[in-house]
């Protein structure tokens, strides 16, 4: 039902990661996550310049029924945040992997990306969670 693009990496806390050409990574929440959370009403993005460690909560997505933490998939510095979401939080529901991106960061240690799941592994993870 939810889609899981092949070219992205995923965390067990339902973030997706796109590795960009310049070595930075763009982060958002998966389609499965936005579907579970429901209609988004508010997105609290991190601050540009903020330093985060892997698995540290750095953003909050708030839907009509829950406010859920978003965790940094790897350690590094936040270099860009999606300002458009403050006026249109529903973008996360409509285009989770595209316009619904949350923030872009510069990883401190690129090898941390290896610990993330690929599309198949994430699908398997979702299947195991679903009961």
């Amino acid at each position: 039902m939810s889609n899981i693009p092949d070219d992205l990496k995923y965390s067990k806390s339902h973030e997706w990661v796109r590795v960009n050409e310049d070595g930075s990574v763009t982060v958002g929440i998966s389609d499965s996550a936005q579907d579970q959370l429901g209609d988004m009403v508010f997105i609290e993005v991190p601050e540009v310049g903020q330093t985060v460690t892997a698995e540290e909560a750095c953003a909050v997505v708030e839907s009509v029924k829950a406010a859920s933490d978003v965790y940094a998939p790897v350690s590094g510095d936040i270099i860009e945040v999606n300002e458009a979401l403050s006026d249109a939080p529903e973008t996360v529901n409509q285009d989770a992997y595209g316009e619904g991106w949350l923030f872009r960061m510069q990883p401190g240690d690129a090898t941390e990306l290896d610990a993330l799941l690929d599309a198949d592994a994430y699908q398997a993870f979702l299947d195991s969670e679903s009961h």
Binding site: V41, K65, A66, D69
Partner: protein, 466 residues
């Protein structure tokens, strides 16, 4: 919800349906070791006749003195209609009536309350109330630390002119969260917080500045100067205000060039009797940009799926039952009954009525101060304007005055010596709209007589300070 009794037959049928032999069996899950059985140390129960007598005797110990004390709780007139309506079953015995499907009346009332509070404070949003003024300030401090993302210091400037109980309560609540309350001194002449006191912290990282208006002494602070200074330093402004005074004074939303960011305070003056200290309610309002950081319940107005107007709790994802340890607060309720009384009280008075009450309070306190300071043994402590309270310095120890006055059934004022020993023999006096000229004359007469008997020649008493 209507009352639906059940008979023995009903109970038997229900037990048979679920297959339980008796009601005791339904508690089988609780391990025997956790059952308390008989409570030792609790005396035998009294019957209704005995307990009624005991309570009547206790109640007689409550006096009805002539009250000239304020200091955070005020003796205002509450129209009879307020509690006639508030004690109706639909309001009085309702238990957490917040379901939109079942409680549109209650939710609408809370929405009206929120609207009135934003009107009084000049801010954008209000919550459905907190426990009281003191814990309201603590919540405001926690909120300011969360909301001021540019500040990392978790330091709050707290003037000594803020109510001492509020400062103590706030310290109790925020201490373990690593929030530091930095005390600011006040002017010995004016009783207000001076800009110089703030300036001593210029350039430091401050999360918020608290400003109480009128302050604990009843004195008016320079709210514009203090607000602008705080904002120039990147600090938020928390206003602690008396809701009745807002009918006359500039509302926090209009302080300085940008307005205070958060306003809180004690709602007791709005339709809640003194009741020996409570229950009262706290209120909190804020600018729109901070509404997601505001603790407590918030009622919103919206349209249902048929396009009809309705009311519902909103922004609940910030609350404890969803966010748990990351919630904006551990509070997950409000003071519904008192909010009901306050809303009806404000509706009955209206804006003009509230203004008249405030004006009468101010006038009566001026008369009281004039009457008491006519004596050479009494002088005002401060020289700045006040709202409906003012500290007075006495030529005799406060105890020597208070005891005989209390024997005449007069509550002369709040003894300031314990929390502000630097003021000497000082008493904080207050006269609301309920104190008449005759009441004030009674106080003045008795006070003068006490001074007369104690300052006759040969008595080793200091004359009035030069």
């Amino acid at each position: 919800m209507p009352f639906i009794p059940h008979s023995k037959t009903d109970v038997s049928e229900m037990l048979a349906t679920i297959g339980a032999p008796n009601i005791e069996a339904l508690f089988d899950e609780i391990p025997a070791g956790l059952r308390t059985g008989k409570l030792s140390g609790v005396p035998e129960g009294l019957n209704e006749q005995e307990i009624t007598r005991l309570m009547l005797e206790r109640a007689e110990q409550d006096g009805r003195p002539l009250c000239f004390m304020g200091a955070g709780a005020y003796d205002h007139h509450v129209p009879a209609a307020v509690w006639e309506i508030t004690t109706r079953g639909e309001f009085y015995s309702a238990y957490t009536p917040y379901q939109a499907e079942a409680s549109q009346g209650t939710l609408q009332l809370i929405y009206e309350f929120q609207t009135m509070m934003t009107g009084l404070t000049g801010l954008d949003a209000s919550n459905a109330s907190l426990y009281d003024g003191a814990s309201g300030l603590a919540e405001a401090v926690l909120m300011a630390v969360r909301a001021n993302r540019k500040s990392k210091s978790r330091r709050i400037l707290m003037p000594k002119t803020v109510h001492p109980h509020y400062r103590k309560t706030t310290r109790t609540i925020v201490d373990n969260q690593g929030i530091e309350l930095v005390e600011l001194p006040y002017s010995p002449a004016g009783g207000n917080t001076l800009e110089e006191a703030l300036q001593a912290h210029a350039g430091e990282d401050i999360a918020a500045v608290v400003i109480q208006q009128p302050n604990f002494f009843g004195i008016l602070e320079d709210v514009d100067v203090l607000t602008d200074w705080a904002h120039s330093q990147g600090a938020l402004v928390i206003a602690v205000v008396n809701p009745v005074s807002l009918a006359l004074l500039k509302p926090p939303g209009h302080w300085g060039s940008a307005g205070a960011d958060i306003a809180c305070g004690e709602g007791q003056p709005l339709g809640v009797p003194l009741m020996a200290g409570g229950p009262y309610f706290g209120f909190m309002c804020c600018k729109q940009e901070f509404v997601r950081q505001m603790p407590g319940r918030i009622v919103g107005r919206t349209l249902d799926r048929d396009g009809l107007e309705g009311f519902t709790l909103t922004l609940q994802a910030r609350e404890q039952h969803i966010r748990r340890s990351k919630a904006t607060s551990n509070i997950c309720t409000n003071q519904g009954l008192l909010v009901t009384a306050a809303t009806i009280h404000m509706s009955l008075l209206g804006a003009t009525g509230l203004q008249r009450v405030a004006q009468a309070c101010h006038d009566n306190t001026r008369k009281l101060v004039a009457a008491l300071t006519a004596s050479e043994h009494v002088e005002p402590v401060f020289d700045r304007p006040y709202f409906h309270e003012a500290p007075l310095r006495l030529a005799l120890p406060v105890d020597d005055i208070a005891r005989p006055l209390q024997a005449h059934n007069i509550l002369p004022g709040y003894d300031l010596r314990q929390e502000y020993p630097e003021l000497g023999e000082a008493l904080l006096v207050c006269a609301t709209e309920t104190r008449t000229d005759a009441d004030i004359a009674t106080y003045a007469d008795h006070l003068n007589r006490i001074f007369a008997t104690r300052t006759t020649a040969g008595c080793p008493v200091k004359p009035k300070m030069a």
